[in-house]
C-alpha cells in the first residue's frame, strides 16, 4: 500500500469552503435566473448570491496566494512537451481502458498529484474561467459606474452573457469533477484524500 500526504489542511479547508461557496452561488444563481421562487425567493437569493460572490473572490485570492507561497503551484504547471501524449493516454483510459481493467496511465506521487487532463482542466477553470466569472460578477455590482454601451451593445448585457456562459461552463465542470473523482482506485479513494489529506492506494502502482 502506498500513501501520500497530498493535501495539507489549509488546502482541504480551502477546497471545501470554495465548494460550499460555489454551490451556493450556483443554486442562488439558478434560482434567480429561472425565477424559481420555490427554490429560493428572489429577494433572499440576490443578497446571498452577491455575498457569496464577494467570498468567492476572497477564496480565489487565497488559492492564488496558496499556490504562489504554499508550494501547491507546482501541480498546475503544464508540461507542454509531454502534454499531448499524456492527454491522449488519459482520454483513452477514460473512454476505453477503464472498462477493460487497463492500468491507470498516471500514478499519483507527492510531486505530481494531478494527471494531464486534471491539470489542464483545473488551470482552465481556476486561471481562465474563474477570474472571468468573478470580474463579470463585480461588473454587475458596479454596473452603474460602467459605460452604457460597449461596441454599440449594452454593457450590462455583454457582462450578463459572459457571466451566464462562464457559469454554465463551471456548472459543467462541477458535474465532471464530481464524477471523475470516483475513478480512483476505489470510487471513494480521491474523496477520502480530500477529506483526510492522505492519498492511499492498495496497489503500489
Amino acid at each position: 500500500m502506498t500513501a501520500f500526504y497530498l493535501y495539507p489542511l489549509w488546502l482541504r479547508l480551502w477546497h471545501w469552503l470554495n465548494a460550499l461557496i460555489f454551490v451556493t452561488l450556483l443554486v442562488t444563481g439558478v434560482s434567480m435566473h429561472f425565477t424559481l421562487n420555490w427554490l429560493i425567493p428572489f429577494d433572499v437569493a440576490v443578497p446571498i448570491h452577491n455575498t457569496a460572490g464577494v467570498l468567492l473572490t476572497g477564496s480565489w485570492l487565497l488559492f492564488v496566494i496558496g499556490n504562489l507561497w504554499g508550494g501547491n503551484g507546482k501541480h498546475y504547471l503544464i508540461n507542454l512537451r509531454t502534454l499531448p501524449k499524456d492527454l491522449i493516454a488519459q482520454t483513452r483510459y477514460y473512454l476505453h481502458g477503464i472498462f477493460v481493467g487497463a492500468p491507470h496511465p498516471f500514478h499519483v506521487s507527492a510531486e505530481h498529484k494531478l494527471n494531464a487532463l486534471q491539470t489542464l482542466s483545473y488551470v482552465g477553470v481556476m486561471y481562465g474561467l474563474m477570474p472571468v466569472l468573478i470580474l463579470s460578477g463585480w461588473a454587475f455590482l458596479f454596473s452603474t459606474s460602467l459605460p452604457e454601451t460597449l461596441f454599440g451593445i449594452g454593457t450590462v448585457w455583454i457582462i450578463a452573457i459572459v457571466h451566464l456562459v462562464v457559469a454554465w461552463m463551471l456548472a459543467l465542470f462541477l458535474i465532471v469533477h464530481s464524477y471523475i473523482i470516483t475513478t480512483g482506485e476505489t470510487p471513494t479513494t480521491n474523496l477520502k484524500a480530500m477529506v483526510t489529506g492522505w492519498h492511499k492506494e492498495q496497489s503500489s502502482g
Partner: protein, 338 residues
C-alpha cells in the same frame, strides 16, 4: 401686361452689341423662372387644396356646424376664469392635436349637442353630462370600442373608492387630444406621455426621490422606462391592448422587483410586447433574437441559450451516468469471474 422680350423691338437676336444681347437673355431667363415658379405655385396650391378637401372629409372640425364653434375655439387664448374655483378653464381646441385624436371624425355637436346654439353660451351649457361609456355603447356600430369592461375596472380604482372629488374620465383623458399608442412612438415617449397624465395631478411626486417610492432603486430611471400603471394596477387579468383602469392604492401596488425583472413578466408584458415589435422593426430580426426576453437583473433571459445550456448539462449528466454504469457492469463482471 407682360411683354415677351422677343417681341420687344429693342431686344431680340438682332442685337448687335454683346451687352444688349446679354440683357435680353437675362430677361428671357427671368421670365422662364417666373413662369416655372407660377406653375409650381399653382400646382402646390391645387395639391394643398386637394389635401384640405380630403382632410375636410375626415376632420369633424371642418364640418359645417363645427366651423361656427371653431371661429372662437381655435384661439389659443380662449379661456375663462371660473368664478367659484378661480381657476382658468381652457376652452381652446388644438386643431392639430384633434386631427390626430381618436375622435377626429366627430363634429363638435356630435358630443356637445345642446345649449350651445346661443352666443355667448349660457352658463348652464357647461353642466352637460358627457358620458364616455354610454356614448361608446351607442356608437359601437360605428367602430367605437366598448368601454364597459374598462368602466368596471375604473369603478374599483382608488380614484373611485377613495371618492376623489370631481373625478371622471376627463380627469385623465382629454377627448380632444386622446389617441392610442402609435407604432412610431418610442417606449420613452409612451412612458413619458402616460406618466405625465398621472403627474399632472400627483405633483407631490415630482421630487428626485418621490414620496412612497424610497424602496425603489433609481426611481427616475424606472420612471423613464416603466409606466406608473405597470406597478399601480393589479397583476391579474391584464390584456395587451390597454392598461387596466383599476388604479391601486399605494399599499396595494406591486413592489416585487422580480415581477418585472424576470421572464414572462406580467408587469411588463403589455409594454414589452409593444417593445418587442418595435425592436424588430428598428433593430432587425437578429438583434431582436439576441435581446429577446431581456431583463435587467441577469438580462440574459434568452430561451435559446437556456435550452442549449440545460441540454449540454443534461447530456453531460447522462454521459457520466452511462460511463458510471458501464464501469459498474465491468466491475460486476470481474467480481463474478473471480
Amino acid at each position: 401686361m407682360l411683354v415677351s422680350p422677343l417681341s420687344d423691338p429693342r431686344s431680340g437676336f438682332s442685337c448687335l452689341a454683346y451687352g444688349q444681347c446679354g440683357t435680353a437673355l437675362r430677361r428671357l431667363l427671368l421670365l422662364a423662372l417666373l413662369a416655372l415658379t407660377a406653375s409650381a405655385f399653382a400646382l402646390s396650391t391645387a395639391a394643398s387644396y386637394g389635401a384640405a378637401a380630403q382632410t375636410a372629409k375626415k376632420s369633424g372640425l371642418l364640418k359645417e356646424d363645427s366651423r361656427d364653434c371653431m371661429r372662437c375655439h381655435w384661439m389659443e387664448t380662449m379661456a375663462y376664469r371660473d368664478r367659484e374655483t378661480g381657476k382658468i378653464v381652457n376652452l381652446s381646441i388644438d386643431r392639430d392635436a384633434y386631427r390626430h385624436s381618436v375622435h377626429h371624425e366627430l363634429a363638435c355637436s356630435d358630443c356637445h349637442d345642446r345649449g350651445y346654439s346661443h352666443y355667448p353660451h349660457r352658463t348652464s351649457s357647461a353642466d352637460e353630462a358627457l358620458q364616455c361609456v354610454e356614448c361608446h355603447e351607442e356608437r359601437e356600430d360605428d367602430g367605437a370600442p366598448n368601454l364597459v369592461g374598462l368602466h368596471h375596472e375604473y369603478e374599483k380604482s382608488v380614484h373611485v373608492t377613495e371618492e376623489v372629488e370631481d373625478f371622471s374620465c376627463f380627469s385623465c383623458h382629454n377627448p380632444h387630444t386622446f389617441h392610442p399608442v402609435s407604432a412610431g412612438e418610442s417606449i420613452a415617449q409612451v412612458v413619458a406621455e402616460t406618466n405625465g397624465t398621472c403627474l399632472d395631478c400627483h405633483t407631490e411626486l415630482l421630487t428626485p426621490v418621490p414620496k412612497g417610492h424610497e424602496w425603489l432603486p433609481r426611481p427616475q430611471a424606472h420612471w423613464g422606462s416603466v409606466r406608473c400603471l405597470d406597478c399601480h394596477t393589479p397583476l391579474e387579468g391584464r390584456i395587451t391592448e390597454r392598461p387596466s383602469h383599476n388604479v391601486l392604492a399605494a399599499e396595494d401596488s406591486n413592489q416585487l422587483c422580480v415581477e418585472c425583472h424576470s421572464k414572462g413578466s406580467a408587469l411588463l408584458s403589455q409594454l414589452y410586447n409593444y417593445r418587442t415589435e418595435q425592436a424588430r422593426d428598428e433593430k432587425g430580426f437578429f438583434a431582436q433574437a439576441i435581446y429577446n426576453d431581456a431583463y435587467i437583473v441577469g438580462m440574459t433571459r434568452n430561451p435559446w441559450m437556456d435550452w442549449i445550456g440545460l441540454g449540454v448539462i443534461l447530456l453531460m449528466i447522462l454521459g457520466v451516468a452511462a460511463h458510471g454504469y458501464a464501469r459498474y457492469r465491468f466491475h460486476r463482471e470481474q467480481e463474478t469471474s473471480k
